[in-house]
Assembly symmetry: C2
Homo-oligomer: 245 residues x 2
DNA sequence: CCATAACCTGTCACTACCGACAGTTTTGCC
DNA sequence: GGCAAAACTGTCGGTAGTGACAGGTTATGG
């Protein structure tokens, strides 16, 4: 078991500093624990493929290029399947659970990756998927006890690191997202439109005239600064103004 | 500092058992650490108010009712503001940061809540907000060192407990969410429709005829089993078939 | 070579949506 | 009481969306 004090020193740093650079965090992690490599990835899953928000790691610089050349499709598939995971997953377990990722692991072996590592899930907004991969420099036989001992450290520090990055992103953006306020009726009407109801149907449901439904929808379109009901529903869902379900 | 072994015993339980009942988890937590009270809450934020998915706690049984009677609006506001938090937050800090929650704290004091506690953020899908509140039975002067010592334990165990609940929810539902596959063109036209473009505009953008755009949109509607373009966009956004941005 | 899927196009008739005109009634707050 | 905002209604004319008809082209894989 590694030095307890070293963890608490690192915890103090992560809690006190507002913005922690990835390189610094990686260096601190490596000096505190017996870590061989770290990889942080934050992507947005799109209907086709994905968009990388942030990717930083301690592997050789051209690792992403090699992965991309090998098979981008399988990265996509694995990210998609794993995006729902909430528990930490061992690299070995991940390899078994997602056979599609075998190509990735084969490629990663050439960069020095060993099975003694863990994938930590990180909180992320909708359609975002963030992970911190930690690969330890321990013998296979020692991995289980090492993991058991440091899982709590890794998960907390990873969360704090992730929070630090997201917060600095938010500070950089510094853009407040419109904050449109819809009335009760406007929200209701939008919700029913999202459910595929026509003006006449919504009017019947709400017990008002079709003309009034149109009035609310027009106001909603004007407030959302859009030109069609379809766009209005999309915009309202983006800003969480109408429920998903 | 509490017994290290007790934590690892609890960790083993949380990692080995698929479904951990809240009452059991709470009891284990209380017997392992000097915990006075625990509260787990998982809500969905709606445009107006919120919907509670799960709420369990060790306070007196009528705590939620008292809260509701006091001021439901402020719960709403605080949940909304705090939903973006990723870091653990001390109860005292939360009270200072969200003045709107003062009424809540005043009410909670009557149920035995003390400021020596922490709010742990938990991974949640879009518009969902889950938290585990842990209130320790320690003297105010000891809180800082207690927190520092056990934060990593709490965060990891809370994550595992949360994962356990979500997984059992998923098992209970046992419903695969359609998994509709849209073609490239169908995805494109849906995306432009969500951007407020008309058939004619989309046709011009994509360099095809308006009729063809209608063809793709009709196929998309059929696949998504919906009756209007508006509903199709809403459905596609729900299933993450078109990007948010 | 045939089947399949994706992509592409045309016409017709009907319905729904959209903006702009001009109001009334109700509700809540100072 | 006065005021503002929300809720509600009516009519008109133009544009957009919708379903059903009936095709053709290209690429992929068995």
């Amino acid at each position: 078991m590694a030095d307890q004090q070293a963890f608490f020193d690192l915890l103090d740093i992560m809690e006190s500093e507002r913005a922690v650079e990835p390189k610094r965090f990686f260096a601190l992690m490596r000096s505190t624990f017996n870590i061989e490599n770290l990889l942080y990835i934050d992507v947005e899953l799109l209907p086709r493929g994905f968009r990388v928000h942030r990717l930083c790691h301690t592997f050789e610089a051209d690792l992403p290029e090699v992965y991309r050349d090998r098979n981008a499709g399988c990265i996509d598939a694995v990210l998609r399947m794993a995006s729902g995971d909430i528990r930490p997953v061992d690299l070995a377990d991940s390899r078994k659970r997602y056979p599609a990722s075998e190509t990735l692991f084969q490629a990663a072996l050439h960069f020095g990756l060993t099975p003694e590592g863990i994938i930590l899930p990180l909180s992320a907004p909708a359609r975002r998927c963030a992970r911190l991969v930690i690969q330890a420099d321990v013998a296979p036989a020692e991995w289980a006890s090492y993991r058991r001992c440091h899982l709590r450290d890794f998960q907390l520090l990873a969360n704090l690191f992730h929070a630090s990055l997201l917060e600095s992103d938010a500070r950089r953006r510094d853009q407040h997202p419109a904050s449109v306020i819809l009335t009760n009726r406007e929200t209701e009407v939008l919700g029913w439109a999202a459910a595929g109801k026509s003006y006449w149907e919504i009017a019947t449901i709400l017990g008002i005239t079709e003309r009034t439904v149109r009035f609310f929808m027009t106001n909603a379109r004007r407030k959302l600064n859009v030109v069609s009901n379809t766009q209005a529903v999309a915009q309202a869902m983006r800003h969480a103004l109408i429920p998903v379900s």
